[in-house]
Symmetry: C2
Subunit: 268 residues, 2 copies
């Protein structure tokens, strides 16, 4: 059941700064077997970082865990979305110094993507919409998502599942809803997200587990050409897991051994 | 009284895309003597442009006028805020192809800025937060306003009233809540806002009236140094009117004849 500030509700004040300015953060969390996921702590860590960056009072972890547990009580498999905003204020960009933050928790049905996305891979395109750079906003999952919305409306072809987004300096950054990895000479590479992009919790998990397993994993700035010339490409997020990319533009990619190895690790 | 989709209400669905992604637009409109302002048509034109840019179905002008008239019926002097969002949708950036847009209208008390801001001018600073560039989002008043929120929290000194914002290429663009003009050799200059920034309705009105009165008005790309070396600087928006800048950083400016002339034109 949806909760707004701990109470069952599906309505929000029209004076909330989440609406007026996108002045807040969100997390999208996979629920399987009616339980909060293994990656819960990583979601909470990113949310705390986001609050710190925006100067929003951090929400108590235990309170959020209790509310999340209540919110998903009738859900076996689905998606929990948590929105934290700076709360209600009067008019003006100036943030109230000690306002009450707003907590919104709601669930969605589990995504029904075909198994072929995971097994055989997806077709991807390159988006025209560019990501603006801002160190304060980079990495965190804030509510200003028009760049992603604009990127996603660029195509209607149902065969195309995801789009690569570049930043305003033409560096490859991420997918519209996923992070991006590629394989070059057997080593993993993933774009630096210190200037823009989202620090996906599964991205972080993959970087860690690759490192633990002595797989080379480089975080850097890459051009579209470098991505296109990869041996393997995959996208990931904590809800979908890992999807190999079998086609980017006109180029065809195999589901290679590195992607398969990482996908096998991902059993939680 | 606040209206949501034409009905008296101060609550909104937690599934509205205005909240989730900032997927919408707003207008902030001065109400004086209980009437919609002379600049109403310009506000509506910008709102239509915003809908077009975001691919949101445009809202009927007459309907909005009726709802605005109803919303301000108990207001003599104040501010009307109109928010238009793409409406309610399920999870995901992908925009629903034919959803119902959400209309939110609410009023705020008139701003109570000291007359000295208008008469003697304000103190301004330069913000560290940069504006990202995106041609589709430039000019329109969309709901992704974290850059402005971050810029506005940079200072707490109550003597400083507004901040200059530059874009990621270090061009001067605007104030956090105002547009910016400066005077150089008797001519008016205002930053180009084709890559980022808001196309303020009063900015447009000033450009037009200056041109009609054979005052030189140049729209261009300007550095902070060019702004600092100006003979006069002023900021404007449709709610506050025109405020001369008497200090930017450590430099002092006079309220000069060009600013005074424009302020005199602004009697509606």
């Amino acid at each position: 059941m949806p909760l707004v500030n701990g109470r069952e509700d599906d309505k929000l004040s029209i004076h909330d700064r989440g609406l007026h300015y996108g002045d807040g953060l969100f997390e999208t969390i996979a629920i399987r077997d009616g339980k909060l996921p293994v990656l819960w702590d990583r979601h909470m860590a990113r949310l705390r970082l986001g609050c710190q960056r925006l100067g929003i009072l951090p929400v108590d972890d235990e309170l959020l865990r209790e509310e999340a547990t209540l919110c998903i009580q009738a859900v076996t498999d689905g998606v929990l979305k948590i929105i934290i905003s700076r709360g209600v204020s009067g008019r003006g960009y100036r943030a109230p110094s000690a306002g009450d933050v707003t907590r919104i928790l709601t669930t969605y049905p589990a995504s029904t993507y075909p198994a072929s996305y995971r097994d055989d891979g997806i077709v991807m395109r390159v988006c025209r919409t560019r990501l603006g750079c801002n160190e304060t906003l980079a990495g965190i999952k804030h509510l200003n998502r028009l760049e992603q919305v604009l990127a996603r409306v660029e195509w209607t072809d149902p065969e195309i599942i995801e789009g690569v987004m570049l930043d305003s300096d033409e560096n490859v950054i991420e997918g519209t809803m996923t992070n991006l990895f590629f394989v070059d000479s057997g080593g993993l590479k993933t774009p630096d997200i210190s200037q823009c992009g989202v620090a996906g919790v599964l991205r972080e998990w993959i970087i860690n587990i690759a490192t633990e397993n002595a797989m080379r994993c480089e975080i850097g700035r890459y051009t579209l050409q470098e991505l296109e010339q990869a041996d393997e490409i995959f996208v990931c997020n904590s809800v979908i897991g890992v999807w190999p990319v079998r086609q980017l533009g006109h180029r065809i990619y195999r589901k290679g051994p590195v992607t398969e190895r990482i996908a096998r690790w991902l059993v939680f």
